[in-house]
């Protein structure tokens, strides 16, 4: 799906936990996530901390979208 969005001319960032899969699939902008069942969260944290964590990942994703890339790039 990532590739089709890109093909349509829309910059896209893939937020996922298993980044090697994203590389194989062909995403160009990749942001690592927390865990498979909760990529943008961590139930072990309290609500406020968890939201802060999520915000940091979304900020990374937006940073990836505003960064020019040459090829496949993982934004650690």
């Amino acid at each position: 799906m990532v590739k089709e969005v890109e093909r349509a001319g829309i910059p896209v960032v893939h937020v996922c936990t298993v980044t090697p899969i994203s590389m194989t699939v062909g995403a160009n902008r990749i942001v690592p996530a927390i865990a498979i069942p909760h990529p943008l969260g961590n139930p072990a944290l309290d609500k406020a901390e968890e939201k802060e964590l999520r915000r940091r990942i979304v900020e990374k994703a937006l940073n990836a979208l505003t960064t020019e890339v040459d090829g496949q790039t993982i934004f650690e």
Binding site: E4, N28, P37, L40, K51
Partner: protein, 350 residues
């Protein structure tokens, strides 16, 4: 001759420990035990080989603790010192396929023990590892177990004995880029004309030189002005309004959903859930923002960091869903996103 010693790797599901709720099951060594698919392999080994130990590991545990899990498993395999190592088969289970490919490649490379695995050609683990270890091409579900083990067992025996391995088409493994010279009975011109005649007659024929499939898309230019950009959310994590009104399948999805989140500030347990059957749904059902970060993007919209969050999001379950289907879904909704003036997409996967 003594039987070849085999160590077999399987996931929590095939060890009958549990499904997604047990996917974080840590690595476990069972010496002297033949578990699940190991039984079918054993039947196919006849008197040539036997499983001396089974290693079980949850799919999420492996993928989320890659280096640790790999080191633990390598240690166990080293201790058992088998003649051959078998992982899977994983069919179309993505994380299991990646785990099987990773560990089979590591055992072969780091311990020098011949290894093989098996999975469906669309499993992401296939492209990642088919050139590193022998990988039997299986059907896309465990219904293909009998067929899979009937190919894996003889290949394992050959590998263990150090016998010559035949071409991919004969042994049933995925082509791995290795070429071997041999003489054909007929010369090239005759074979080409025969192929052409079959093609003209509409009959099936097998090409001798399949074209490589490099499907890569160049990255689009970056977003210039985030503060005025329209951002859309897309997910393969199956987030849907509570009750899954469009009945998106928990696996092998036949369609995607388009949902309006105008005025929605936060995804709650009462309003949203996941339809995905390929991961433990507890956390996403409790708070779907953990997969689709609507709450955070609303805050950023308010703070003027982004222009706006697009009022529609697109979702499907990326669980065993065919590549061709996902491609078709995304081609369709990407055209809508483009028409709606969306500047960038955040796509989340579980």
């Amino acid at each position: 001759m003594a039987k070849l010693k085999v160590v077999h790797y399987i996931n929590q599901f095939f060890a009958q420990i549990g499904g997604e709720e047990k996917a974080d099951y840590p690595v476990e060594l069972r010496v002297g035990e033949v578990v699940g698919p190991g039984m079918a392999l054993t039947a196919n080994f006849k008197d040539d080989a036997e499983i001396i130990a089974t290693i079980v590991c949850g799919d999420s545990y492996f993928n989320e603790n890659l280096e640790k899990a790999k080191a633990e498993i390598l240690g166990m395999v080293k201790e058992q010192a088998p003649d051959v190592f078998i992982a899977g088969p994983a069919f179309n289970a993505g994380r299991y396929g990646v785990a099987c490919g990773t560990i089979a490649a590591a055992v072969q490379e780091e311990l020098g023990i011949p290894s093989l695995t098996g999975m469906y050609v669309e499993n992401p683990g296939a492209d990642m590892f088919k050139n590193q270890v022998y990988m039997i091409s299986t059907k896309n579900s465990a219904a293909g177990m009998r067929d899979a083990v009937s190919k894996m067992a003889p290949l394992a025996v050959k590998l263990g004995k150090g016998e010559a391995i035949g071409a991919s088409a004969e042994e049933g493994y995925m082509p791995n880029g290795v070429r071997v010279n041999f003489f054909e009975k007929e010369r090239g011109s005759q074979r080409a004309v025969k192929m052409l005649l079959k093609k003209l007659a509409g009959k099936p024929f097998v090409t001798e030189f399949p074209m490589p499939d490099f499907d890569r898309v160049d990255p689009n230019p970056a977003v210039k002005d985030l503060a005025h950009a329209k951002i859309a959310l897309v997910t393969s994590g199956g987030i849907v309004p509570k009750g899954n009104p469009d009945h998106i399948e928990s696996s092998s999805a036949s369609h995607y959903g388009e949902y309006d989140i105008a005025g929605v500030m936060d995804l709650t347990e009462e309003t949203y859930e996941t339809a995905h059957g390929g991961y433990d749904p507890v956390y996403a059902n409790e708070d779907s923002d953990r997969v689709l970060p609507v709450d955070v993007l609303r805050d950023m919209e308010k703070e003027g960091i982004i222009g706006e969050l697009h009022h529609l999001f697109y979702t499907t379950t990326g669980n065993g869903t065919a590549v061709a289907s996902s491609k078709a879904f995304a081609a369709e909704f990407s055209a809508k996103l483009k028409a709606d003036g969306v500047d960038a997409v955040i796509l989340t996967s579980t």
